[in-house]
Symmetry: C2
Subunit: 410 residues, 2 copies
């Protein structure tokens, strides 16, 4: 007997994540999340594309998968095959591309292909928090590999692979964001990529290549993808339109040899990803993608300059960072006395949202006084005001920065 | 040492589903899948809505979740709260509705909330194949409850609950499609619904109410939802726009009390469902949903009549079925000598796709000579030709039907 069928405590599965709080809107100064610049959503082009494609093919919305099958809308996959060849040197067939609901679903599908509780993967020491939280939820051991200015350090990777091999452990994959690494923004050079592929082959550990930021290299000079260098052997490649067009569209993709993709496809049991997004992008991109992205990059670069200037002015030498070669975020080191998780809590209470370093790394000590600032979404004025407000909170809580624009703080 | 990093046999997770075959297009006579009628996609309305909403709010595409938060686009949730009150008697707040990527994601999220390997659930003996396959993949014991003309038989449900209780097993939920049950098309009456809620409370087993077909009752007379009758206590309700607008849009929803939904929301880690679909529906539905659906229903009803006439003509008394009060499918009983899985294989080889009964039930003996025919997508002529072609295959393979339109088959 139980009067309340919903005593969730006794009904719910074990180890659920903490419950959600009601959403109360974005922080006034929002430096978190992969949001993009509203001014650079190619609205006229998307509108024209929506009208054209709905007029020509709208009735196919009555059919699951339109008439393109479970891999996704054919014109979009055709564009991607062309784009990946032109931008990343990837020679792949349209049927080696699976359209996903954002690259997050791509990550979930690749994880579902490989991972079981207790497995081990190798991952960049500072890394996308969403990848880390997924691995934690799956009960997978994520071994962080230290980074340098080119990303994964090969000496550290080789040592980790050898050490694991000695213990009879074969990692399921090496996860890397080689082009505009999240959060450091580094780009892995061609030589380093070749070394990485060599280690991958030597130890029989495939590479999971996440290139969702690779359209946002300031000078447009994107290195050949690991997938291209390996001819697709031993590499799964994922990408996204979230950073190049608009994140709310939720359109990403997986590139893999068919002998791998045929095992991924049955794991995608959602009866297809959103059709309107795919149709609109499939219509928009062939004609307008190449012209759109450089304008977006210029706008993002200008916001990064504003952010770096504001940090220099407000934090002076207390904020250390490299000028990243692309992307939407800046990885900042504050003095060791600053605990960025405490800073994030105090800042949020004053309407400033930041990503504290420990949520973006496998090494909490390394991350303790670091933070990630996303700059694509807030207007220039909000970036300046937000950084000033953050400096105030930081000074009150940790005594740094000591001076702002050569003026000592009280 | 391993020359091929991708020896998936040693790398992939255990118990993956069988690999996919390359997609070769739909069968010429396609009687499977929840596809809808292309002639009844409200294209002009969707086009107008896309133009209006992209002009007024397009720039919010730069932000994950638009500016509505993780539950989904606010105007769409506002419409749903109004619709659910008007159509199903559900009094719920906009924040008790979570927009999902089709009702399939809704099923996955509810399963993730409750289910672990080895758990038991109660489910309709003849039931949506996608729900059955999900439970099998999760390693959950799905106990099928026999059906009658009103759906779940209360005597059988009570017996199963008591029997399980005697073995110390508390099922995680009772899954039901009470309005236009899939595949039987039955509608559970108000009295039966009250009995079901009574058993749910008595045994402390919540109800998982799947109402994705409830807009398609021919006479528009949809009973009060179980969720409404229970005031949301002990019931999770899901629905979809796939059957009322267009399946390729992939827009469904979960209705649950916030004290439940707050545990579901963190399981949705996809950074939101497709925004264009949500924006277009949020713009289209308040003005046009009520006028659109009756036209769609009339078109579907006409196709059902064509299907039933074709079956009567081609199969005569060999095909038994009830005239369903709504929906997009017909559940057909053939003579016991017919194995519909063999029939499906033979028919597919001749360009006719059907759902064999055993894939749509927990009781393979009950399902053996039954099949599901979906009628929304094929044109009237294709329905007639396809049923004739199916009768030919069936006669050649199983010797039935013996006669067609009073003419004995050779």
């Amino acid at each position: 007997m139980d009067a309340s069928p919903f005593d969730l405590a006794s009904l719910a599965a074990a180890n659920l994540p903490p419950p959600a709080a009601k959403w109360t809107g974005f922080a006034k100064y929002n430096f978190v999340g992969g949001h993009n610049d509203p001014e650079h959503v190619p609205l006229d082009g998307l509108l024209a594309a929506a009208n054209a494609v709905l007029k020509s093919e709208g009735r196919t919305l009555a059919t699951y998968g339109l008439e393109s099958g479970p891999l996704g809308y054919r014109p979009l996959r055709e564009f991607l095959a062309h784009k990946l060849k032109a931008h990343a040197g990837i020679a792949c067939d349209m049927d080696e591309i699976l359209i996903t609901s954002g690259s997050l679903q791509a990550i979930d599908l690749v994880n579902a292909l490989f991972l079981a509780r207790g497995d081990t993967v190798l991952i960049e020491q500072a890394c996308y928090g969403g990848s880390l939280s997924r691995l934690a939820r799956l009960g997978v051991n994520a071994v962080g590999i230290p980074l340098d200015g080119e990303g994964l350090r090969m000496d550290a990777l080789a040592a980790a692979l050898e050490e694991l091999k000695g213990r009879g452990i074969r990692p399921k994959y090496i996860y890397t964001i080689p082009t505009v690494q999240n959060p450091t923004g580094s780009i892995m050079g061609q030589l380093r990529r070749a070394e990485l592929l060599g280690l991958s082959r030597r130890y029989g550990v495939p590479i999971f290549e996440d290139e969702c930021y690779s359209d946002l290299v300031w000078n447009g000079d994107r290195p050949r993808a690991l997938y291209a260098m390996a001819g697709g052997e031993g590499v799964i490649h994922i990408g996204s339109f979230s950073k190049s067009i608009a994140p709310a569209l939720r359109v990403g993709y997986i590139v893999a040899r068919w002998d791998v993709l045929k095992h991924v496809l049955p794991l995608k049991t959602d009866a297809g990803s959103g059709a309107l997004e795919q149709m609109v992008l499939g219509e928009f991109c062939p004609a307008h993608f190449e012209a759109h992205v450089p304008k977006l990059r210029a706008g993002l670069r200008a916001k990064l300059v504003t952010l770096m200037e504001a940090l220099a002015e407000q934090f002076g030498t207390a904020a250390e960072f490299d000028d990243p070669p692309g992307g939407i975020f800046l990885w900042v080191k504050l003095p060791d006395s600053v605990d960025t998780q405490e800073l994030a809590r105090a800042a949020l209470a004053e309407g400033i949202a930041i990503n504290p370093g420990p949520e973006w790394t496998t090494d909490r000590v390394y991350g303790r006084s670091r933070l990630r600032l996303c700059f694509a979404n807030p207007p220039h004025a909000a970036i300046r005001e937000g950084v000033a407000a953050l400096a105030d909170v930081c000074h009150r809580k940790f005594g740094v920065p000591v001076r702002t624009a050569n003026v000592a703080r009280g």
